[in-house]
Point group: C2
Chain length 256, copies 2
Amino acid sequence: MGRVIAIANQKGGVGKTTTAVNLGASLAADNRRVLVVDVDPQGNATSGFGIAHRQLDKGTYQALIDQATLADVTVDSALPHLKIAPANSDLAGASLELASMENAHTRLRNALDGVQADYDDIIIDCPPSLDLLTINGLSAADSVLVPVQCEYYAMEGLSKLAETIEMVKESLNESLRIEGIVFTMYDPRNNLAHQVINEVQGFFQDQVFETRIPRNIRLSEAPSHGKPCLLYDLPSRGAQAYIQLARELLVRRESA
Amino acid sequence: MGRVIAIANQKGGVGKTTTAVNLGASLAADNRRVLVVDVDPQGNATSGFGIAHRQLDKGTYQALIDQATLADVTVDSALPHLKIAPANSDLAGASLELASMENAHTRLRNALDGVQADYDDIIIDCPPSLDLLTINGLSAADSVLVPVQCEYYAMEGLSKLAETIEMVKESLNESLRIEGIVFTMYDPRNNLAHQVINEVQGFFQDQVFETRIPRNIRLSEAPSHGKPCLLYDLPSRGAQAYIQLARELLVRRESA
Ligand SMILES: Nc1ncnc2c1ncn2[C@@H]1O[C@H](COP(=O)(O)OP(=O)(O)OP(=O)(O)O)[C@@H](O)[C@H]1O
Ligand SMILES: Nc1ncnc2c1ncn2[C@@H]1O[C@H](COP(=O)(O)OP(=O)(O)OP(=O)(O)O)[C@@H](O)[C@H]1O
Ligand SMILES: [Mg+2]
Ligand SMILES: [Mg+2]
């Protein structure tokens, strides 16, 4: 059965999508069968793989709200072992619509039941909020990977996120655990970054990945070419950092 | 009557809060009476002014959902002419709760009616979504100021935001207009930034502010001291850029 990882943090712009796209691509490059599920109405993970999300007639909305299966909406990517359940513009109203539906919190988990055996890793990109789309992501996941920008505001939101993860664990998904915290856009010359890292490491201890993703312009250029960074500029520090993160993730799992 | 500006963009991490805090502070430093209204459950604008939002027993939630007035929840800041309607942790559930209430979209506008005459400028910091809190911000505003990071994903979401502003204008607030687009975290050495700027200027034409906010570490350090940047490091490029933005805003208004 494929392992399901939700990439979540309600703070905006911390690198959730960049992590979903590039961690997914790195695992697929390692010959693992990967599904990236985009439940963010912005559809950035979808366009990060070169798929024009505004023209799609079906996507994760149809699997969450209508009767479509995830297999019905999944499309190929440029990487042989990686598929995407894309977000289309219907998803914008989903959070409110879900609120009035049966099983509002676990519809994504039910949708994943049908495909989980077909993949080694399933990665869910969540929106910058703690709304029903993110709650669906957390209830469907085996673990949560939390990207944290080395900035003051990004640190502030962590205790609220930890509370929400606990709440989901108690009421919706008792096996949910924290896969790890990964520092993103890290610039070692920056004092504030070291303060934030010390504070977060003090709180999350050994749940913090050793791999830190450096600030690297190639990571932010790659989406404009519709490619994960390892297809855009494999030797770049950004692409290499995510390959390293994928490797660390697999090693930590084996020794867990 | 005070002019109400909503700072909105559903893309996360583009500088909405940094703009609300520092533009507000710059207007107040110019002896204008300013109210900053924080409708983001993260409460970053509240802590950006040094207020511990998790310990507050009342805030914008009480003015939106309960019977409190905005005047009841407003607190002072370190700046003589600037007050804040803070976000406390109750706001996390507000978007869903609003959905089942009367006048769900215009409760903030009704709340502002009582205080608008007391201020010259009212600035609303919105969350990274197009949910009911942001819709409340747009329906209450005279104009929308849109911070745009010079990045690919940030550009992608602009057409969706423009659609939403049009929708609010047609159904909820016919006098809503775009105050302007401001480029944030601008690094002139970065090619991608120039591509994004060209593209956005082509679309929004003269609605783009000439002032560009540079990437400046002092802007991201200031919130950890609970101060707007002009109180933390007045000569810094970041603080000066927001003072310049405030000046340009007032000049554009006079000539409109
Ligand atoms: N390590 C990095 N180096 C340079 N740029 C980066 C890096 N990681 C992400 N970015 C850029 O920073 C911006 C924010 O990242 P991203 O969109 O992945 O964050 P997010 O958390 O998914 O945002 P949202 O909250 O809107 O979903 C993007 O423009 C992205 O290209
Ligand atoms: N011009 C700048 N230079 C350097 N850092 C900046 C600048 N503007 C904002 N930042 C930092 O970038 C991060 C994102 O900015 P901010 O939190 O203001 O964005 P936001 O749009 O309000 O985010 P959210 O979508 O989560 O509400 C913050 O850590 C902030 O301190
Ligand atoms: Mg994202
Ligand atoms: Mg903000």
